[in-house]
Amino acid sequence: MATLGLASSLPLLLLVIAGAGGARWRGEGTTPHLQSIILGRCAEHVALLNPEQGEKNCTAIWEAFKVVLDKDPCSVFPSDYDLFINLSRHSIPTDKSLFWENNHLLVTSYAENARRFVPLCSVLYGRMGDFLSWCRQENASGLDYQSCPTSEDCENNPVDSFWKRASMQYSRDSSGVIYVMLNGSEPTGAYPVKGFFADFEIPYFQKDKITRIEIWVMHEIGRPKVESCGEGSVKILEERLKEMGFQYSCINDHLPVKLLKCVDHSTHPDCALKSHWKERDRCREKRKKYTVTYWDQPGHHLPGLLSRP
């Protein structure tokens, strides 16, 4: 009888041991060497990138972060990161805040490692968590390297709570002109009405420190334009900002960002640039239009340029 019981539970036991029943959660597991990466990023930020922000104690910051690694992966709240944020926060230069949805890589490219803009991933606390994943195992101490919960698994998971808390702080510390980059080719809409920007950034804008808000709706080169300024979810955002009393403006395909997107689409007609050589020749001799390349503008709206001769 006992042997039978053992025999029947053996496959289940093996399954549990091998972890072969599929990952517990939907998200990526804890990033290996998490501590070294976080400490290294902190050290780099302090030593190389922002020495003027004063000495930050990276060890103390890590100790504050570590606390969540002992908690149940579905019971981690934004407030659990309060000490971590308090130790790592620093001021953000005015007019340099860049908020975004659905274009992480473009934002980091354009921000040029905080030389041009300072998005959340260039702020110390944001830098430390960027692209990483972490959680404790469900029923044991120790990190889960197989998988971690996403919002679909449970709301109060370590990673989402981190970004909620970080977003709130980033928003609170932002001032001057606020820039927002949205993806107008995103099928679900450029402005997610439920998302980090909507729920954890906009509500924490400090009205007395913000002069105006500028929205850039970027479109993928050669992909359909799902939404543009004044349309769909962008309209919802514009109205929300208006209601809150903010002065705002919206630009489709903000030129410097579009130029950046064109780097790996340089032969696409949407990216055809006027050739400088040809511009000089044009003054000397009449040239047929097809030899002069120019920005293709069907249906595009590039404010500021249409008025130029």
């Binding site: 990466i37 990023r41 050290a43 030593a47 190389l48 780097v263 640039l273 050589w277 920005w295 340029l305």
Partner: protein
């Protein structure tokens, strides 16, 4: 009340405490000797306890938190940037890196010092994807950040780890010198940092294959600088049996009047060198995708606009 009176006692006249004059002198000398020895021993102990002072150099010292940054970058690179390298042993690499310069004369660095590190970090860049640069660091790296299938040296593991950092040790100490490190020109050229970059640049060039590219600065007089790392090390370590063509993208500053920098004498010099090495040279002025990167900073410039 006792009447205390101090009077000088002639040494010759009154022996003290019942000991002879000679004995007194001997005792004094012994006493002094003891004090001197005592001081010497204390100073000796203190000096031994104190870390020996590093040599003073003319360049900035080792970057603060050097080792943490190095290790963190190794993990970021192997876990996130190029996850195909996730089984890399970063601890081992970190140790090999520091043992190349710790406890050694920072002006006597050699390629041999970095051999163990080099052996731990082989990384193949796909053919046709190597991008060299000279006097165009920001532009070249902005380009590969967007064009992620091309690699500059700083997009490979070792380059990524060491980019922007400074390091040196000292022959008389096992510590890193955070105060100063040798300056290339004012102290010595065979310093730990320069030798590192020469070593990794050499291998980067040796490993290249197919068509290789270089971003050059057409707005300076020595567009091709024979004294630069590209000119001294990389060009001469390309293997002609693997690399058949070098394509140069000569970029002018966007504000300057465009000139045919490809025809300049310094670029011609590069062409001749490659000719003798049996490598075809192709040159392009203001290669468009890289021009677009420049345009991001100057979107209103006429060459960045469309034509109505």
């Amino acid at each position: 009340m006792a009447n205390h009176r101090f009077s000088s006692v002639s040494e010759e006249e009154k022996p003290c405490c019942g000991i002879s004059r000679k004995a007194q002198i001997c005792l004094c000398v012994l006493f002094v000797l003891l004090i001197v020895v005592g001081i010497a021993v204390s100073v000796g102990i203190l000096m031994w306890r104190q870390p020996p002072k590093h040599k003073e150099w003319k360049g900035p010292g080792t970057t603060a938190h050097f080792y943490e940054i190095l290790l963190g970058r190794c993990y970021t690179y192997t876990q996130i940037v190029r996850p195909e390298l996730r089984h890399t042993d970063c601890q081992k690499i970190g140790k090999a890196f520091t043992s190349a310069f710790l406890s050694k004369d920072p002006c006597g660095s050699t390629e041999q010092d970095y051999r163990p590190l080099m052996e731990l970090t082989t990384q193949t860049v796909p053919c046709d994807k190597t991008l060299f640069w000279s006097k165009s660091s920001e532009l070249a790296h902005d380009y590969t950040w967007v064009q992620r299938d091309m690699y500059t040296l700083e997009d490979t593991l070792l380059g990524y780890m060491a980019d922007g950092l400074k390091w040196c040790g000292d022959a008389g100490s096992s510590e890193m010198n955070y105060q100063s490190c040798p300056h290339w020109r004012e102290d010595c050229s065979n310093n730990s940092v320069s030798v590192f970059w020469n070593t990794v640049s050499k291998r980067f060039a040796e490993d290249a294959c197919g068509v290789v590219h270089v971003v050059l600065n057409g707005s300076i007089s020595n567009t091709f600088d024979e004294k630069s790392t590209f000119g001294r090390v990389e060009v001469f370590n390309l293997h002609p049996e693997k690399v058949h063509t070098l394509k140069a993208w000569v970029m002018n500053n966007i504000e300057s009047v465009p000139s045919d920098s490809c025809s300049s004498s310094s670029v011609n010099n590069l062409k001749q060198i490659l000719k003798t090495r049996n490598i075809t040279f192709v040159c392009q002025n203001n290669y468009r995708p890289v021009r677009l990167i420049q345009c991001v900073k100057n979107p209103e410039h006429s060459s960045c606009r469309y034509n109505l």
